[in-house]
């Protein structure tokens, strides 16, 4: 009786170990498959400041203000917290355009990664609930450039 129990234990242990190894391998494989395509940057979207978000997104630390080369077309006054905005970058080799609102609990709103064929103008709609800045950040040649525009929200929630 005792020996049967012992055997049962070893078999169970073995099965558990194989299961664990399988799970680890499976996870590894899943990561390997994801490596080719860009994955949603969870840490950047959960960051509390714009600098932190961009550091997690691109690894760049310093953001150079370039208000003359980045045009933000947005209404100065928005009534219901929805704004149609256009961001145009005149910086050569623009790789991505990010939109951030510093007043939001998680400032990073959107990040657009562009193919060289795509013109560096993006139009989209964003949600802005309180009066404050909209910041556009451009990544070009591993450097970060930014511009901002203040928007006034008349019907605050």
């Amino acid at each position: 009786m005792n020996s049967i129990n012992q055997n049962r234990r070893t078999i169970l242990k073995g099965a558990l170990a194989v299961g664990a190894v399988g799970a680890v391998l499976g996870k590894r494989l899943a990561y390997a498959n994801q490596a080719n395509k860009p994955v949603w940057p969870k840490e950047a979207f959960n960051a509390n400041t714009i600098e932190d978000a961009l550091f997690k997104l691109t690894g760049g630390n310093t953001i150079i203000p370039r208000p003359n080369d980045i045009l933000i077309k947005a209404p100065t006054i928005a009534e219901n917290g929805l704004a149609h905005i256009t961001i145009q970058s005149n910086i050569p080799d623009t790789e991505s355009i990010s939109i951030a609102i510093p007043n939001n609990p998680s400032p990073l709103v959107a990040n657009f990664i562009l193919d060289p064929k795509v013109s560096t103008t993006i139009t989209t709609r964003i949600k802005i609930e309180n009066t404050g800045d909209i910041v556009a950040i451009i990544t070009a040649n591993n450097k970060l450039y930014s511009a901002k525009k203040r928007m006034r929200i008349t019907a605050e929630k």
Binding site: F112, I113, K117, V118, S119, I122
Partner: protein
């Protein structure tokens, strides 16, 4: 959710093609932001939008909870010919996704 969630149009003019897309999606930020709601609501939003033309990924957009309900997106690219196909795909944080195609006019 309606069966067709993506409204996409592509227009060619003077060597550039402009793509306009409107996605029907609740884009729920969750009760963390909307504190007036008594019932805790889980975030439900689009995380990734990709637009492809002839196997080239023209644009990859990563969105957070700051994007509004029924998001809109417009961009243009050099090239593209009338009759070509543009593909758009979105994936949200619950794993739902949808694809749509447009013929360049």
């Amino acid at each position: 959710m309606p069966t067709k969630t993506i409204e996409i149009r592509a227009k060619h003019k003077n060597g550039t093609t402009t793509v306009n897309a409107l996605i029907t999606h609740p884009m729920e930020p969750g009760s963390q932001i909307n504190s007036k709601a008594r019932i805790a609501r889980l975030p439900h939003f689009i995380q990734e939008v990709t637009c492809k033309y002839k196997e080239i990924t023209l644009l990859t957009a990563h969105w957070g909870v700051g994007m509004p309900k029924n998001p809109y997106l417009s961009f243009s690219f050099s090239g593209g010919e009338k009759g070509d196909r543009i593909d758009l795909k979105w994936v949200d944080n619950k794993g739902n996704s949808d694809t749509a195609e447009a013929i360049i006019k």
